[in-house]
């Protein structure tokens, strides 16, 4: 598959320029045409900042201090300016549909705000387009709902509106920052199916940020595991989920409940906590929590290297010694449940 989006050596800084803190350091990944790519990790690992950096919407006080961002256009990967790709190539779905939809605009106007600004569509033309888009994302009564206000809709419907708004500009990549976290479990499932359907129908690529491994398993083809502002392992989802090549990924997977996990048995959690952006250890940042750590790990330069005998890439030097049988994650590998979104 040919690459569509490539992030290389992304460095994000906060704080004074003289003594910056780097919540994201040298993160890189590549997303192919039509691929769903997952970005997982604990809270604070830098997933959201990475995603926002892709479209240049970093929060106040965070700046990009390095890295290349490229998008495929006319058959070649080219670095892009944000103004070129916003609403034309890259779209974004936010976590909180309540706060990400302007409360003072009607749903229909909101959905087509992008193309109206971008291509100068007339309001009238935009109206019928808005109804089409709302129908595409499965709104039950698109005509009536186009005339409603965001606050009149349920959380699930609001998230559908958010997705329609992002789709309105016909992006080739959809960035999704935990788009289901704010929703009920049943509604989460509907939104995941919707994203899966849209992706198939439109041949869209998706970058999906989440801390929920189950969601990655269901939706994504490939995954990057982030820890303390770095990617520690990346690979195909089936591989990473059955034969993780980094102790952090393995720990995350062990702490994930499956259908077979008895309710009363506590999940195996990784001891300790993730270091904050300001106090990260030298060398492998996972070392203080790692059961396999050696003295050498503290002097390690961060490199995502190919793993012998595995298609994944890992930042762990002991990957060859981790060995052991593959994790029994068969329960996680069930395909996306049937039914339409």
């Amino acid at each position: 598959m040919s690459p569509l989006l490539r992030i290389t050596d992304l460095v994000l800084e906060t704080g004074p320029a003289a003594a910056p803190v780097r919540p994201v350091s040298h993160v890189g990944f590549e997303v192919a045409h039509g691929e769903a790519f997952g970005l997982v990790g604990e809270s604070g690992s830098g997933k959201s900042l990475t995603l926002r950096a892709v479209i240049g919407l970093l929060p106040e006080g965070v700046r990009q201090a390095g890295g290349t961002l490229e998008l495929e256009r006319d058959g070649a990967m080219r670095p892009y300016r944000f103004a070129e790709v916003r609403g034309r190539g890259i779209g974004m779905v936010f976590q909180e549909p309540m706060t990400a939809l302007n409360p003072t605009m009607r749903v229909g106007d909101l959905v087509t705000a992008g193309p109206r600004a971008r291509y100068g569509w007339s309001r009238r033309a935009a109206r019928s387009r808005a109804v089409d888009l709302l129908a595409e994302v499965g709104m039950p009564d698109p005509k009536a709902q186009a005339r409603m206000w965001p606050h009149q809709l349920s959380g699930g419907l609001r998230q559908r509106v958010m997705i329609a708004m992002a789709l309105a500009t016909e992006p080739s990549v959809l960035l999704c920052d935990e788009p289901t976290t704010a929703l009920d479990v049943a509604v989460q499932d509907q939104i995941l199916r919707l994203l899966h359907r849209i992706r198939t129908e439109r041949g869209l690529s998706i970058v999906f940020v989440t801390h929920d491994l189950g969601v990655v398993r269901r939706l994504c083809d490939r995954v990057a595991v982030m820890y303390a502002g770095q990617v520690v392992e990346t690979g195909r989802v089936e591989e990473v989920f059955t034969r993780p090549t980094h102790p952090y990924s393995a720990g995350l997977l062990r702490s994930m409940p499956t259908q077979d996990t008895p309710r009363d048995r506590p999940l195996a959690a990784i001891p300790g906590g993730q270091p904050g952006a300001g106090d990260r250890p030298e060398g492998c940042r996972f070392a203080p929590r790692c059961g396999h750590a050696l003295p050498a790990c503290a002097g390690l330069a961060h490199v995502l290297a190919a793993v012998p005998g595995s298609p994944s890439r890992s930042a762990c030097i002991r990957v060859a010694d981790l060995g052991g049988p593959p994790l029994d994650r068969e329960a996680l590998l069930s395909p996306l449940p049937g039914g339409t979104a």
């Binding site: 919407l57 939809l101 409360p103 992008g114």
Partner: protein
């Protein structure tokens, strides 16, 4: 369905204004009842006989029960009859009719100035929150709120009107052009104390909107430039200032009373000042009614405007 929501909201607000207006009328009516002294004695003079006083009481309707007097008062107000001034020379209604346009123009020009000043400074200040410009505007705003309106009026007369000759030294005009020119300086004096309050509210609204997720979502969708500012910043930021502006009308009205005296403008404020000096109760009562009704109307308009800007307030 949504439209009926908005119009239903306006209708309900109009209905709510009716009892409020009645209470206002009752209070203004009661004003005269608590004024010390016998009104009949005031008309007839201190040496009138008991019989004369009684005749005057009957003539004024003072022998009737209070609620009947109130109904009578309502009837008079409905026909625009506010009584006569203390000297008996002029009808209070005529006084109001001649003063109202002056005060209305003054308030209108001042509102325009207030909105322009507040809008421009808020946009400037919000460009870089806590930056140098923001802080300077903040200091100026604090000064604007604190400076006495009458003092500012005198400074404008002495510092601008006198040396430039571009504006009259007080007084009003008789053509639209001269009226507007006469209104500029007093309106400015009036705006300076009100605009900072509006500016602060607008500024924080703009900063908040720019930090919001819906602003980021709009940018992600490719909305930018003026469309972004208008649709995803100003529209949201305008909601609190609009209701605030309605609430500030009382401040503008009391400011108008001061400014009209300073600049010698023949408006309602000047009439009120003079009536207060002459203890002319009919005039005071009439003007109080007009001022408080104006506040009711402006707040009604403000509520409706807010509802059109932010649909969530319609409950």
């Amino acid at each position: 369905m949504i439209h009926s929501g908005r119009f239903g909201f306006v209708g309900r607000r109009l209905l709510q204004a009716i009892p409020l207006t009645l209470v206002l009328l009752l209070l203004v009516f009661a004003m005269l009842k608590v004024v010390p002294g016998d009104p009949a004695m005031q008309v007839a003079g201190p040496r009138a006989s008991a019989a004369t006083l009684q005749a005057i009481r009957v003539q004024l309707g003072l022998d009737q029960p209070v609620w009947e007097q109130f109904l009578h008062y309502l009837g008079r107000i409905a026909t625009g009859d506010f009584g006569t001034t203390a000297t008996g020379s002029t009808k209070v209604g005529t006084l109001i009719a001649s003063g109202a346009p002056v005060t209305l123009v003054l308030l209108a020009v001042s509102t325009v100035f207030t909105v322009l000043i507040a809008g421009a400074t808020a946009l400037l200040a919000a460009r870089r929150p806590d930056g140098l410009v923001d802080r300077m505007i903040n200091v100026m705003a604090a000064f604007g709120v604190g400076v006495p309106t009458f003092w500012l009026g005198i400074v404008l007369l002495a510092g601008v009107a006198l040396p430039t000759g571009a504006f009259p030294i007080g007084g009003w005009g008789d053509t639209p052009a001269t009226v507007l020119r006469a209104a500029v300086l007093p309106a400015l004096a009036l705006s300076v104390s009100v605009a900072p309050v509006l500016m602060a509210s607008l500024r924080s609204g703009i900063v908040e909107a720019r930090r919001s997720e819906y602003h980021a979502a709009a940018q992600a969708a490719g909305v930018r430039g003026w469309k972004l500012t208008r649709g995803f910043v100003l529209r949201n930021a305008a909601v609190p200032p609009v209701s605030l502006l309605a609430a500030l009308t009382t401040l503008l009205l009391s400011g108008a009373v001061v400014v009209e005296s300073t600049f010698g403008l023949p408006g309602l404020g000047l009439s009120l000042t003079q009536a207060a000096q002459n203890r002319d109760f009919n005039v005071i009562q009439g003007l109080t009614l007009v001022f408080s009704l104006a506040v009711v109307v402006v707040n009604l308009v403000g509520d409706v405007l807010v509802a059109f800007l932010d649909p969530r307030v319609m409950v």
